[in-house]
Symmetry: C2
Subunit: 335 residues, 2 copies
């Protein structure tokens, strides 16, 4: 029997909430008999569902933060929103983690304010597991910190290693710095300084990672600022979207190609599953005192299910303890 | 009859030089009867070829800059290399443009030093035409300037508009700023400042472009610093590479899928051609007093051919004059 996990879930976040969220919660509860869910959201959404599902409790809230709202203002003004209430459940110890497919910005602000940072962590970072050819790679930060300082990058790398080891079971993760060339002298002045800091302070550092190596390289963790990381992540998603669109067009272009597509259907579905962002169902926010998984706004029920199950895995892996143990506090003066 | 164009071509640049370069030159000469080539490189490479081809002249040089060399040092130390000599031919007016598939860094340094900047241009920028779903998009800078100032970004946008109008025939190009959200308040502090500058000074500015919109969006020109631009470009290439690799695996996974792949061959070749970087065969360097096209190190003969022909098109479009006419000199005090 696995360790019991209680997760708070935002029933009202995501482009297709609440329907796909509720379906995803039901699937996750069915998949993990040791999972309990506290479903946060409007009473009309959460109460009926919780009454009909074992191991699901309703936490009615009166407000919802919409996708377009200014994150910091919305979190401040909507104290009874599902994103704020869900994070507070984690701080109070009533839940061990929080999942939402709602506004990423609001989740970041709320988790940082309402769950709080791990002692010594300067800035929490948002990660994403990329499905590479050789191996899965954790890229961070993908958007929590558009402007970063040099020592944040070192902490991102340390947190990333702790994540890959504790959650994904990767021994001795190899860390890369996202840069525009392999050699140490390549890149912006910031990237050059980051290279030297990582080389001097991080035993797991394996050198620069170019954009083309994110999916084809040999790195377990790749660190960058949240601006570059977000551009890279969305560029991967956009390239993939374009190619699948063109592929579909190619399949429909003639009677012969249509027949070919029918024959290929099975293996193409398999390919699509391999590169789908639904596999993990969300981005872990690293560096806070609890688990926080942020799902894609466009999540379907499978993605929500997988995001919740990924959150459970993080709780059971005690990723927060792993991060607390390795984060470099020297520059903060509290070591 | 088209305008006569003389291009200097680096016979010794690229992973598969000189063979694929010479083959590409031969194809370009055959395709454009008004093209003359001055072939720069080791005597053993250029003399025999030039003797055997009409409209091709040999410019023997004694040195070659290798891919791994430090660009600035190599350009300084190897005054008789094909990359230096080719650029000098442009400055002396003996050629109107230069093409090389050799070291991008050395080409940038040599073109800037030996051809020189257009008056008022602060920093030349490297562009790339991305094959989008809706339209082709010029992304710049993709690597000439890892660190930029705010007013470089404005000039990149102005140069990009001049390029798209003069060379690609796009009236009223729409310009985007690569950023991590659509709203004006999104992004790093630099990106926010760049947004305001472009909004206030560039009539063609149409807002922020996210990574996912590079290939799926409605922008004709997207501007960014050379660090982010290079990461984005290589991420596109890497994602494409991974998906084609997985696709190939999917095709070979069963007898049925192999048959399907045979039926799809024609339309897949068409798709691959559409997204291939070979279509333009290189990256234009914008802002110098002449044309400079830098081909991919991995160029094949078709890419070299197309890179040379793209260079011809730029010469005939008088892209330098178009850039000189629009570049914002106000901040340089020479207006």
């Amino acid at each position: 029997m696995a360790e019991k996990v209680i997760l708070a879930v935002d029933a009202c976040g995501g482009d297709r909430a609440p329907d796909v969220v509720l379906e995803g919660v039901a699937q996750a509860l069915a998949a993990d008999p040791d999972l309990e869910v506290i479903l946060c959201g409007l009473p009309s959404v959460v109460e009926g569902f919780a009454a009909g599902h074992e191991r699901c409790h309703a936490q009615p809230t009166s407000q919802v933060i919409e996708m377009g709202e200014h994150p910091a203002e919305a979190v401040k003004e909507k104290a009874d929103s599902s994103i704020v209430v869900g994070c507070k459940l984690v701080r109070e110890g009533r839940a061990q983690g929080f999942f939402s497919a709602g506004s990423t910005g609001a989740c970041l602000v709320s988790a940082t304010l309402n769950i709080g940072r791990i002692k010594g962590v300067k800035r929490p970072a948002l990660g994403i597991i990329l499905p590479g050819v050789q191996k899965e790679t954790l890229l961070l930060d993908v958007g929590a910190n558009a402007d970063v300082k040099l020592d944040y990058i070192l902490q991102f790398a340390q947190m990333g290693c702790a994540y890959m080891t504790s959650v994904m079971g990767v021994e001795n993760p190899k860390v890369g710095l996202l840069n525009i060339g392999e050699e140490e002298a390549k890149g912006s002045l910031f990237a050059q300084d980051a290279f030297h800091l990582l080389r001097d302070r991080l035993p797991q550092f394996a050198g620069n990672c170019e954009g083309g190596d994110l999916l084809n390289g040999d790195f377990d963790v790749v660190v960058t600022d949240g601006f570059t990381g977000n551009v890279a992540l969305k560029t991967i998603e956009g390239t993939s979207k374009m190619l699948f669109k063109l592929l579909k067009g190619a399949f429909m272009s003639s009677a012969m190609s249509k027949l070919g597509a029918v024959l290929l259907k099975g293996s193409l579905m398999e390919l699509k599953r391999k590169v789908s962002p639904d596999t993990y169902g969300g981005s872990p926010l690293l560096g806070i005192n609890g688990v926080c998984m942020v799902g894609h706004g466009s999540s379907n029920a499978t993605a929500v299910r997988n995001g919740i199950l990924s959150g459970c895995r993080e709780v059971r892996a005690h990723v927060g303890d792993a991060i607390a143990a390795v984060v470099d506090r020297k520059r903060q003066g509290d070591a």
